[in-house]
Each structure stands twice: as C-alpha cells, then as structure tokens.
C-alpha cells in the first residue's frame, strides 16, 4: 500500500494537534448542520439516527458525544500509555476522524434517501402501529443503498478513530483495542443516558 492510500485510514502521521482540531471541528459542525437540515442526527460514537431536532440540540448532542469520547479515551490513554500525551493531539485526531460522517450528511441531502428510509421504517413499524404499509420495492432498495453508505462511513470513521487513539496516545495491540472498545461502549451508554434524561424532562 503506498503512502497516498495509507493517508485515507491513517492521516494522523502527518496531521494532529490544533490544526487537526480546527479542520475536524469545521467539518464536523458542517456535518451536523447538514444532517440536521435533512433529519439526520449523530447522538453517539457510532449512532446515526433519523431524527428531526432543533439545530442547537443537534449540535449539542453531537458535540457532547465527541467531547465525552475524547475525555474517556484521554483518560484510558493516560492509564495505559508509557508516553506523555498531549490533550490537543487526542482531541484533534479524534475530531478529524469524524470526517467520513460528512458523506452520510451529503447523501442525506438527496431527499430520496431520507424519504425512502422514513417510508421503510414506518412500514416496518406498521405491524405495531396498525397503519398501512406505504413503502415500495424501490424504497427498500434506496434505503439499502443508504444503509450501505452509512455502514461504509461508520467503519471508516471507526478505523480512523482507532488510529487517532493509537497515534495520539502511543498505544498498540490488545491494550489499545480493549481501551478503544471500552471507551466507545461507555460513551454510547453515557450519551444514551443523557438523551433519556432529556426525553424524560429530567435535564
């Protein structure tokens, strides 16, 4: 694999720190805003949901999830790494790792994809709600394509996030993988708890 290809899954050998943080933040905010316009929300590490949220809520949820993930990975990195870790490197690389999600927001700008996804979701819920199913075969096909795009973007984002953690904290192997999985699961749980508390009016 040559260096050009490598940079798609590990650009952090060349870019980290404040530069990565600024670029990553601009792209991530654009991702969330574009997503919000088209009814897509990013409430966790790997969560991508069809949801109509006010702009501030969408930004708040997405940024909170990112900050929680960065904090947990920084703490885990401090515990398992023998190197000195700069918080700006962890924050910058992990923020930049979110770039693939822009693909999801851009595809979501094509109304067919979100419309078909909503139709199929309603159709699948029709057995519970008692409403008639209105999704066509084309809707299922379009939603399948959308799901594949989301999966590709999510896997790419996860690979980038792991490489970001590995490079910024200088951790490799089993410890790094276990630490990353723990951080991802913890972040999802905390984000879910926050959303639930918000939904129930506790927050």
């Amino acid at each position: 694999m040559n260096n050009k290809n490598l940079s798609l899954i590990n650009p952090f050998e060349r870019i980290a720190g404040l530069k990565a943080l600024i670029i990553g933040l601009i792209i991530y905010i654009a991702t969330v805003v574009l997503g919000q316009i088209n009814g897509i929300a990013y409430p966790g590490v790997i969560s991508i949901k069809l949801a109509s949220l006010p702009l501030l809520s969408a930004l708040g949820i997405a940024l909170s999830a990112l900050i929680i993930f960065i904090l947990i990975l920084y703490i885990i990195g401090r515990l398992i790494s023998k190197s000195r870790i700069r918080p700006v490197d962890v924050a910058g690389t992990l923020t930049l790792a979110k770039v693939p999600l822009l693909l999801v927001s851009l595809v979501g700008c094509i109304p067919t994809f979100t419309k078909s996804s909503i139709e199929v979701t309603n159709s699948l819920l029709s057995s519970i709600t008692g409403n008639a199913s209105t999704a066509s075969g084309t809707d299922y096909l379009i939603m399948s394509i959308f799901v594949i795009i989301i999966m590709v973007a999510t896997i790419w984002m996860l690979i980038l996030s792991y490489n970001a953690f590995s490079i910024s904290c200088n951790v490799k192997g089993v410890k790094a993988i276990a630490g990353f999985i723990i951080a991802a699961v913890l972040t999802e749980c905390i984000c879910f708890a926050i959303l639930l508390a918000d939904f129930q009016g506790i927050l």
Binding site: F12, I15, A16, G17, K82, R86, T93, I167, S168, N170
Partner: protein, 87 residues
C-alpha cells in the same frame, strides 16, 4: 556500505572482532560490543542525528520531516525503549 549489527544466521547482536587503520595498517583484534547507538537501525540513527541537530525540539523535527508531533514523539519513545532494552 551499511554496518551489519544483527547476525544473518541466528539474529543475535554482532560484536566487533577486528579494527584496522587504513593509513598505517595497524590491526586491533579483540571482541568489542558495538556502541549502543550503532546497534540501532539506519533509520533510527538518522532520526537521532536529526533530533540532535534540531536541538531536541520535536516540534521542529515534525516540521522538518513533514510528520505530526505525536508521530515524531512516538518514534523517539520507541527508540528510548529499544535503548533501555539494550542496556
């Protein structure tokens, strides 16, 4: 010509048996351990040279090598770990 440091047969550290002066043909024989820095790979030795020439600034090194700061720091930490193992 590159100085070999690892035995191609059993992968153990090579030692220096003979040194020769090319001017007066004096030959010194013995069994000398290679200096720590000479036991590192060519890339690692080159890295250390660049590190010294940058006055120990990882930031300047990162700019020079067109690499990120954590990448340069990680390479230095790997070399430090290797040297500690040799000691």
């Amino acid at each position: 010509m590159k100085l070999p440091c690892i035995c191609p047969s059993c992968q153990q550290q090579l030692k220096v048996k003979s040194l020769r002066c090319e001017y007066c043909e004096t030959e010194v024989n013995g069994l000398y351990t290679l200096p720590l820095l000479a036991q590192l790979s060519e890339d690692e030795q080159d890295f250390i040279l660049k590190f010294v020439k940058s006055s120990g600034s990882l930031k300047d090194m990162a700019k020079q090598l067109n690499l990120s700061y954590p990448t340069v720091r990680n390479r230095l930490d790997d070399i430090i770990s290797k040297l500690n193992n040799y000691e």
